[in-house]
């Protein structure tokens, strides 16, 4: 434990500024869509020379207080379904444990390169399939101008009277526990694999459970808090958290997460899906670019070292692009929403309608 602490990196102003800014942008995206930021922060810290496990631990340690502040803020706006969040969080905790076991098995079978390849493959498949659908759905809503509707799958599941049936007050729906738990479980498994469970949790709550985008993204912050706290306790027990890194990221992300939460009250309900879909698709391309590195290490592909290094750099840059794109869309939508709200003849849009339709 002491050896790890002895290897904590030396911080300069440039690295502090980098962590603060990425923390702010990551917080902004998290406050708005309920997750995100972690996929840039961990490789970002590693690029500064932080060992991988310390980067993951320090990132997780900033994640749960950020999620707490975001969840509190959005709870005040009436967007958080606490019961749904807690059921999701408990089942996600089980999912994390199963995900970790799968990771251990893959690591034992194929080594670190095999594990990295599995993570990248999971990233690409999950993000392309789910991100593509989320983006398509949002694009359809934006094009037709229709309000968000409950998916056909969720409607069918809600009609099945499989006890125990649970009524979620804020989400305004009634569904069996047996359809809610698998969504949480899958969230946990993805969190253990790619560290961003929200990419499955939020779409799961929207399309399987039947909650609105607004309620799902807000409720995901509760899941992130519970999972982040549990994960941090585990990492901190092994002495992996570099509190300096955590506090610098937290300094930026607490500004970002509150701005993102405020932003949700100004935008149309499909904007959450647009931001989430865009980020997921760009990240999928980014992880796709990282795959040749691991395939070369496993002798599944032959590629020059220069090319592999270039693709790895391009992958990281694209991750930053994904986060920046999300931030630009959020700030742009918020700016438009504020201007529209300031004009007297504005049509009522936003939270109330988003919740009322579900």
């Amino acid at each position: 434990m002491h050896d790890i602490a002895a290897n904590f990196i030396h911080l300069n102003w440039l690295s502090v500024l980098f962590l603060f800014l990425v923390g702010f942008v990551g917080g902004l995206v998290s406050g708005f869509i309920g997750s995100g930021g972690a996929f840039v922060l961990t490789p970002g810290m590693m690029s500064l020379g932080v060992p991988g496990n310390v980067a993951v631990a320090s990132n997780m340690c900033h994640k749960f207080p950020k999620a707490l502040v975001g969840a509190y803020k959005r709870f005040k706006y009436g967007q958080v379904d606490l019961k749904l969040g807690l059921i999701m969080a408990v089942s996600a905790t089980v999912g994390v444990q199963v995900g970790i076991q799968i990771q251990h098995w893959i690591l034992a079978q194929w080594g670190p390169a095999g594990s990295n390849l599995y993570v990248s493959l999971a990233f690409v498949v999950v993000l392309v399939v789910i991100g593509g659908y989320v983006f398509y759905d949002a694009w359809k809503l934006a094009k037709t101008g229709a309000s968000e509707k409950v998916s056909d799958l969720a409607k069918r599941l809600q009609k099945i009277n499989l006890r125990p049936m649970i009524h979620f007050k804020t989400a305004n729906l009634r569904i069996s526990l047996w359809f809610t738990v698998p969504v949480g479980f899958a969230t946990g498994m993805l969190a253990a694999t790619i560290a961003v469970g929200g990419f499955i949790g939020v779409p799961g709550m929207i399309y399987v459970v039947g909650a609105s985008g607004l309620v799902s993204s807000a409720t995901e912050l509760v899941v992130a808090f519970v999972m982040g706290l549990g994960g941090t306790a585990n990492w901190a027990w092994h002495g992996m958290v570099d509190i300096r890194l955590t506090l610098i990221i937290l300094a930026g992300s607490l500004f970002g997460v509150q701005l993102g939460a405020i932003g949700t009250t100004y935008v149309k309900d499909y904007m959450i899906k647009i931001v989430m879909g865009s980020i997921m698709l760009i990240v999928a391309v980014s992880r796709g670019l990282a795959m040749p590195k691991y395939m070369t290490q496993l002798n599944l592909l032959i590629m020059k070292e220069d090319m592999v290094a270039l693709l790895t750099k391009a992958s990281f840059v694209l991750m930053c692009v994904a986060l920046s794109t999300g931030a630009v869309i959020i700030l742009g939508a918020m700016w438009k929403g504020r201007r529209a709200a300031a004009s007297p003849a504005v049509e009522e849009v936003g939270t109330a309608s988003g919740v009322a339709t579900h």
Binding site: M1, H2, I4, A5, A6, F8, L11, C61, H62, F64, P65, K66, L68, V69, K73, K76, Y77, G78, Q79, T170, L229, T232, A233, A236, W237, H238, G239, M240, V241, D242, I243, R244, T246, L247, L250, A251, L254, F255, Q258, L259, A261, I262, T265, Y266, G337, R338, A341, E348, V349, G350, T351, A352, V355, A356
Partner: protein
């Protein structure tokens, strides 16, 4: 500057100073604190309690900064449970005896 804005500026300043104090306390001996907090086992409680404290103080500071800058949630868009209409008070005039002579 209105009274409300003055009060807001005061709160921002107070939490800003508290936040700076906390950050200064950690980063004046940054490496030593980081190493002490990373001893593992029951020392794990230290980073967890620290981030809770920072999230309260610095989170409140960040919230006041946005409010001071005029960036607040849109009140009309916030979801509030519908208020039940209270039954309107009706005038029920007392029956009076009228003498018809």
């Amino acid at each position: 500057m209105s009274k409300k804005r003055n009060r807001q500026a005061g709160k921002t300043l107070l939490f800003g100073l508290l936040s700076i104090t906390l950050y200064a306390a950690v980063f004046s001996h940054g490496t030593a604190v980081a190493q002490f907090f990373a001893r593992g086992a029951w020392y794990a409680i230290l980073p967890i309690l620290t981030v809770f404290l920072f999230s309260f103080v610095h989170g409140a500071f960040a919230s006041h900064v946005w409010t001071l800058l005029g960036i607040e949630a849109r009140k009309t868009a916030q979801h509030r449970p519908e208020k039940r209409k209270a039954p309107s008070k009706r005038k029920r005039p007392r029956p009076r005896l009228q003498l018809r002579a």
